[in-house]
């Protein structure tokens, strides 16, 4: 895709347009900056934007003059960097794309006075459209990257495995349990069981907002994997509403021990391990 708008036969219309744009650099960049800064509603100063656009504009001229083969690549790289930083700083898609499309408007206003440049303007317009799309693509990719990073960070944050006592570990689950989370929780829990030799695991679901059939399925899977390793699983943190939903949905936890609070689960596990708990 890259460079397909840059015909190797340097055609004269591009050259003329380039020369024309170079002659009116100050005026065009000024108007361009003005258009973009109004759209940004004071989030970037005119001076900053102007500095950015001066560089961009010289690159555009180099592309338009057609003499310079590297210019197109450079221009794309600079635009990619620009849209990436906009995506990271929370600019909207419109504000980002405007950075490119406003240049068209700025040049258009100028060209209306010089009617003989219309075909040249059309070529220029095509190039700018392509660059606009490129900017937008990079913007979308950068946003997706941010979302993916955040999801990964959240997954990591939300699954600590805690040692409660000799031979008893707990996993406080916070947030909705989907299959990706269940997989991660399961892996971490089982690895800890094997590493520590603990025989009791408490799954605390106080922080799980709703327990539907899918979440229950994930819980049951985890419990059954824990049992395969030879350890026992206790589910704790069942809130009154959650209990009602579980019964209403007809979910069967079978012979899995369920407790209201983490404290109850710990006591249960301690008793099973043979500890006597009481006041001195």
């Amino acid at each position: 895709m890259q460079g397909n708008y840059l015909p190797m036969d340097v055609d004269s219309s591009q050259g003329r347009m380039g020369a024309y744009m170079r002659d009116h650099q100050d005026k065009v960049v000024g108007r361009w900056t003005e258009l973009v800064v109004t759209g940004l509603r004071g989030r970037s100063s005119a001076v900053e934007v102007r500095r950015e656009f001066d560089d961009l504009y010289s690159l555009v001229i180099r592309v338009m003059s057609g003499a310079d083969e590297q210019a197109a690549g450079e221009l794309r790289a600079v635009l990619a960097e620009l849209s990436r930083s906009r995506a990271r700083n929370g600019f909207s898609p419109r504000e980002t794309a405007l950075a490119v499309f406003a240049l068209k408007d700025a040049v258009y206003e100028l060209v209306t006075d010089a009617t003989d440049l219309v075909p040249e303007y059309l070529v220029f317009s095509r190039i700018m459209d392509d660059l606009g799309l490129h900017t937008f693509e990079i913007y979308a990719a950068a946003r997706e990257q941010i979302i993916a990073d955040q999801a990964a960070a959240m997954l990591e944050l939300s699954t600590p495995v805690i040692r409660l006592w000799e031979g008893i570990i707990a996993v406080p689950l916070v947030g909705t349990l989907d299959s990706a989370r269940t997989q991660l929780v399961m892996e971490k829990l089982l690895e800890t069981l094997v590493a520590t030799g603990a025989e009791h695991a408490v799954l605390d679901i106080t922080g799980v907002p709703t327990v539907d059939t899918e979440v229950a399925q994930h819980l049951l899977k985890t419990v059954s994997a824990v049992r395969l390793l030879g350890a026992e699983c206790i589910i704790s943190g069942i809130r009154p509403q959650v209990a009602q939903t579980i019964v209403a949905l007809g979910i069967e936890f079978g012979d899995i021990a369920t407790k209201a609070t983490l404290a109850d689960a710990l006591l249960h596990a301690l008793n099973r391990t043979g500890y006597q708990v009481g006041k001195a």
């Binding site: 399961m186 025989e199 395969l228 030879g230």
Partner: protein
């Protein structure tokens, strides 16, 4: 085909699987174990799968079958040393190995056997 050795220790048969499990070797193990259980009257079977990294549905099912066979000879089967990845695979396959007991390691498996055998005696 590689064979899995069966060791008799007291009233317990000890099987440690140290090879990559092929379907044939598991079937052979099942046959050998049945013979051995009938011959020795062992009360417990410990199968150590610490070295097993991959299981499929067939092997999972055979492990459950071994449990049921042992039960017919009035012996308890304890599967010990299962790796997390193996446990996850078996769960995903929907195999919860109901007839088989499990323990984290051989020592705990032996303790479990002793407690159940003594409990029923």
């Amino acid at each position: 085909m590689e064979r899995v050795p069966i060791l008799k220790i007291g009233t317990t048969l000890f099987v440690s699987i140290q090879i990559d499990l092929q379907d044939e070797s598991v079937v052979r193990l099942q046959e050998d174990l049945a013979e051995e259980l009938a011959a020795t009257g062992a009360r417990g079977v410990i199968i150590d799968i610490t070295a097993v990294e991959i299981v499929d549905s067939f092997i999972g099912r055979m492990l459950a079958t071994i449990g049921s066979i042992s039960r017919l000879f009035d012996a308890e089967t304890v599967l010990v040393g299962m790796r997390p990845a193996v446990a996850i695979t078996l769960t995903e396959l929907g195999l919860s190995l109901r007839g088989v007991r499990t323990a984290l390691n051989a020592e705990k498996g032996l303790a479990l056997l002793n407690s159940t055998v003594n409990g029923t005696a």
